[in-house]
């Protein structure tokens, strides 16, 4: 591995983050500028450090090897939040380093788990930066999973038939930058249109901007303590619900739709499975909470069910109701719904629907094969036969995910956290959702966790965001050998 090259690329990424940070300065000045100096100095420090790294390392980006790619991606998600935490620290909005880093990691991994008890007390520049970390992180993920990783056959997206997206793998290879530009276009468009719709619903432009960042990145940071529940507006609920679902959809489908191929949405098995599962969970939760939590008011039960389940399943983490107080069945459904996540190639986290779907298909195939031993039954996805090889990989992924969940939960339990909080905090951070249940529920936060607990959850957020393997590979001795 060429460490210099890795450092060089990381330097470039840090510079980019610093420049993005600079955009928070005018926003801050617009609202009194209490945090302008902190933001300005943070971004100067970030840009200068990044530039220094870029000089130390060679910024020669040609012929990056797979190993170097893994290292850049993983260290990128560890290093950039370090700089992202500077504004919180320098403005003294979050005085403790552990807390500031937690908040920043949660932002860049588009998780949305917060340690801030009173969000509304933060100055506007900081609030903007907090939401922007989501947006930057989401952008990074889309490019990583749709433009870069498919080239090395990694991640869930490469399971897809290429034509659906109109971007075949072979055509893609030489033009990563073009693909990235197209995806960013889609990303911007979604953000801008949501912002417009939210402003139509009476939200201020600042809040609309921050919430759009949080939605499209499936992040979940809000500028209000009560999250989207603050607005008490069915219109805003509906807009955000729709955009959360759009953000959890494969972005290449959006791109295809923009080019006129609307049918791509309907032909995509993963999206269909995602929506059917979503509808099912909403139905169960609505019925479960109807009489107990909503006094038999069906419209309310449905509205809050649809919003909060979309929020959990898209891994966003906004809330309009304190679902930690719902009946046990609804809570259990929400907990289970924390695992599958959204579609591959979206900004959502979790296991990814396509993997769950393939495993369910392989279970039904296995049952069929028991009766017809000699029959050769293939699993198909979007019409293509799925290799046994891929199934084995998908299985290994899910087991690592569950194994990681179990291990991290046990560590949290050892720190003295209660079971409900420990299990849901791990599940929610691993999937990049944000709120859990119990003492880390949507109307609570992560402030009360021990430092060890916070670092464990940071690891969960990064590892989960990078679909485990990139991060786990780095921990294996074989990676560092030779």
């Amino acid at each position: 591995m060429n460490a210099k090259r890795v450092i060089g690329v990381l330097g470039l990424l840090v510079v980019a983050a610093g420049i993005a940070m600079l955009t928070a300065v005018p926003i801050s000045l617009l609202f009194g500028g209490a945090d302008a100096i902190a933001l300005l100095s943070s971004s100067v420090i970030t840009i200068l450090t990044g530039a220094a790294l870029g000089v130390v390392g060679r910024s020669d980006r040609s012929n990056l090897r797979v190993r170097e790619g893994f290292a850049i991606v993983t260290f990128g998600w560890i290093l950039i939040p370090l700089f992202g935490a500077l504004p919180f620290l320098l403005s003294n909005s979050i005085p403790s380093f552990t807390d500031a880093y937690f908040e920043s990691v949660s932002g860049f991994t588009t998780t949305g788990a917060s340690i801030v008890t009173d969000v509304e007390a933060l100055p506007h520049g900081i609030l903007y930066w907090r939401s922007l970390t989501h947006w930057l992180g989401g952008m990074g993920i889309v490019v990583l999973y749709l433009a870069i990783l498919p080239m090395i056959g990694f991640g869930a997206v490469h399971l897809f038939k290429a034509e659906v997206s109109g971007m075949s793998k072979d055509k893609l290879t030489p033009r990563v930058v073009d693909t990235a530009r197209i995806l960013w276009g889609v990303y911007m468009l979604l953000t801008a249109s949501e912002m417009g719709l939210l402003m139509l619903g009476g939200m201020s432009w600042f809040d609309a901007l921050c919430h759009s960042f949080g939605t499209i990145a499936t992040g979940g940071f809000s500028t209000k303590n009560a999250s989207i529940g603050f607005y008490q507006s069915p219109y805003i609920d509906i807009v955000v619900t729709i955009y959360m679902l759009l953000a959890a959809t494969n972005f290449s489908l959006h791109y295809a739709a923009l080019r006129g191929n609307i049918g791509g949405y309907f032909r995509n098995e993963e999206l269909r499975f995602f929506l059917v599962t979503y509808a099912f969970v909403v139905a169960v939760v609505t019925l479960a909470t109807l009489h107990t939590n909503f006094d038999g008011n069906f419209a309310d039960a449905f509205r809050y069910g649809a919003f909060n389940i979309a929020s959990v399943m898209s891994c966003t983490g906004f809330a309009t109701s304190d679902f930690a107080l719902w009946v046990p069945l609804a809570q259990a459904m929400i907990f289970v719904a924390m695992f599958p996540g959204g579609c591959s190639g979206s900004t959502a986290g979790g296991i990814k629907m396509v993997r769950v779907y393939l495993l369910l298909k392989s279970v039904s195939t296995a049952v069929r094969r028991l009766l017809h031993r000699r029959a050769v039954v293939h699993i198909r996805l979007d019409g293509d036969v799925v290799d046994d090889d891929i199934l084995v990989k998908v299985g290994a992924f899910v087991l690592f995910y569950v194994g990681f969940f179990v291990a991290a939960s046990l560590i949290l339990l050892e720190t003295g956290l209660d079971a409900v909080a420990a299990f849901t905090a791990t599940a929610t951070c691993l999937a990049g959702i944000g709120p859990g249940l119990g003492s880390v529920g949507p109307m609570s936060n992560y402030h009360h966790l021990s430092d060890t607990g916070k670092y464990v959850l940071e690891v969960c957020m990064v590892v989960g965001r990078l679909e485990l393997f990139t991060a786990i590979v780095l921990m294996s001795p074989a990676f560092w050998r030779s």
Binding site: Q331, A366, V367, S476
Partner: protein
């Protein structure tokens, strides 16, 4: 489907169960015999029905296909339990059919979950029958896992068709029935030795027999309300730890050891993994036990080892209320409920070989990420495994977890709290017995709503019969001709 050949085999099973039920009569009579009448009637009825079913259909029995195999295995446990609960119903010891059926399914599946609040109030005959159901269930499981499931190819079990040391049909014995007979001898031997050791520790012959039945079958029914904690004897606990551990080991390995091949234990990947896991898990549990000043180190270690082995081997005996330990302890135990012990033993759960294969596959996948062009097969006991078997094992695992999730959600829908729901389902699906929360170590299942009991009955049966055997019966394709 050759339904009549299925009926003839089921009839035969009932005759065996009925005869064993009649064996309880002398025991009942040697005490006050208040349940002798019920046992005699139930035994005769079972033998009668079984004999008729067997006799009427005997000429039709011929070649049995996969479908017939699934039918026999699935219905075998269901029907045997139906007759097995007669003594409880007739004596009125358990008046409700749901409860009686739950108790007996828990017996025949070697689970050990009970709806009885006061076990000690039961007459001796019924207590003996209750323990005997687990012992019979254990016999059935050995036959199932060695002779039948590999042929049906359930959940990667074809892996053991000829590969588990010594179970090669040609090597060990010329015929399946002989294989079963040899392994049953090991089973009986273990039972008798344990019984003698327990009597040596001061247990009554009756209690020793009952507890041996439920240890060797990894069942976990006790004749005492406080389970093994009743005896407050270090020696008895140690004996039971050893025998639970042995019962969680493949019986084929025991057989080979009896023939002098001691090393086959060490050579078996699954056994090594099992031994290491017992040590590691005991250590983890030990760390999660609050350590008071007056506690002796040895006793705490023993409590940790006992509970770990009891849960991992899916037995379910208790010597301490593990819910009073640090929360981490019960969650570690919950994880162990899924693991189970070795294949070819009487233990339930996912089975360690499956977990081992999946772990090895995971490590291989990581290596292949770093070396994309490398082709690394998963090896078990020196042989590289087909990808098909890995996928079978994978689907087994997924289905196991899926049933756990769905059943737990169903239990919460009935109004149980989340921890008790998950604990009850995990303990039933893994055939352990005691769960967490309101069905924990010192509680029982009496308060579970009726539908909940039937869900748990389904879980016990499905878990015991390696999931697919039951699930396949529920698919429309199975019944289509």
């Amino acid at each position: 489907m050759r339904i009549r050949s299925v009926l003839s085999v089921l009839g035969f099973i009932l005759v065996v169960v009925g005869l064993l039920m009649l064996c309880v009569l002398p025991i009942s009579l040697s005490y006050d015999g208040e349940d002798a009448y019920a046992l005699a009637v139930s035994g005769l009825l079972t033998v009668g029905v079984g004999a008729v079913g067997w006799y009427v259909n005997r000429k039709k029995s011929g070649e049995l296909g996969a479908r017939e195999g699934f039918m026999i295995v699935g219905l075998g446990w269901v029907v045997a339990s139906l007759f097995g609960c007669l003594p409880f119903l007739i004596t009125g010891a358990i008046p409700s059919f749901t409860d009686a059926y739950f108790e007996v399914v828990s017996g025949f599946t070697t689970t050990g979950a009970t709806i009885l609040t006061n076990v000690e109030a039961l007459p001796e005959g019924l207590l003996f029958w209750r323990s005997l159901t687990q012992w019979i269930g254990g016999l059935g499981i050995i036959l199932l896992s060695i002779a039948i499931l590999p042929i049906l190819g359930v959940g990667g079990m074809q892996l053991f068709q000829a590969e588990v040391p010594g179970i090669s049909v040609e090597k060990l014995a010329p015929r399946i029935s002989q294989t079963a007979r040899i392994l049953w001898m090991v089973y009986v031997l273990l039972t008798v030795v344990q019984m003698a050791l327990l009597v040596g520790g001061g247990m009554t012959l009756f209690d020793a027999a009952c507890h041996s039945f439920t240890t060797v079958s990894t069942g976990g029914f006790s004749t005492k309300n406080a389970s093994i904690a009743h005896y407050q004897s270090s020696y008895i606990e140690q004996v039971i730890i050893v025998f639970m551990f042995l019962a969680g080991t493949s019986f084929a390995l025991h057989y080979r050891a009896l023939r002098g091949e001691w090393r086959s234990y060490v050579r078996d990947n699954e056994f090594t993994f099992y031994a290491v896991l017992v040590v590691l898990a005991s250590l983890l549990v030990f760390l999660a036990i609050p350590f008071g000043e007056r506690d002796e180190l040895g006793k705490v270690v023993q409590a940790a080892v006992f509970q770990t082995v009891s849960i991992l081997t899916t037995t379910g005996f208790v010597t301490a209320d593990y819910e009073l330990w640090f929360p981490a302890a019960q969650w570690i135990l919950l994880m162990l409920m899924f693991a189970g012990a070795c294949t070819g033993s009487t233990a339930g759960g996912i089975k360690l070989v499956r977990i081992l294969v999946l772990l090895k596959n995971g490590i291989n996948q990581l290596k292949m990420l770093i070396h994309p062009r490398a082709i690394l097969p998963v090896r078990h006991n020196g042989k590289s495994l087909d990808q098909e078997i890995i996928i079978d094992i994978l689907t087994f695992f997924i289905l196991f977890v899926l049933i756990f999730i769905v059943a737990s959600l169903a239990m919460t829908a009935l109004g149980m709290d989340i921890v008790s729901s998950a604990g009850a389902v995990a303990a039933s699906l893994g055939n352990i017995g005691p769960g967490l929360g309101s069905v924990g170590a010192v509680d029982n299942y009496a308060h579970v709503p009726m539908i909940g009991k039937w869900i748990l009955v389904f879980c016990m049966l499905t878990g015991r019969l390696e999931i697919f055997t039951i699930i396949v019966l529920l698919t429309p394709a199975f019944w289509r001709r």
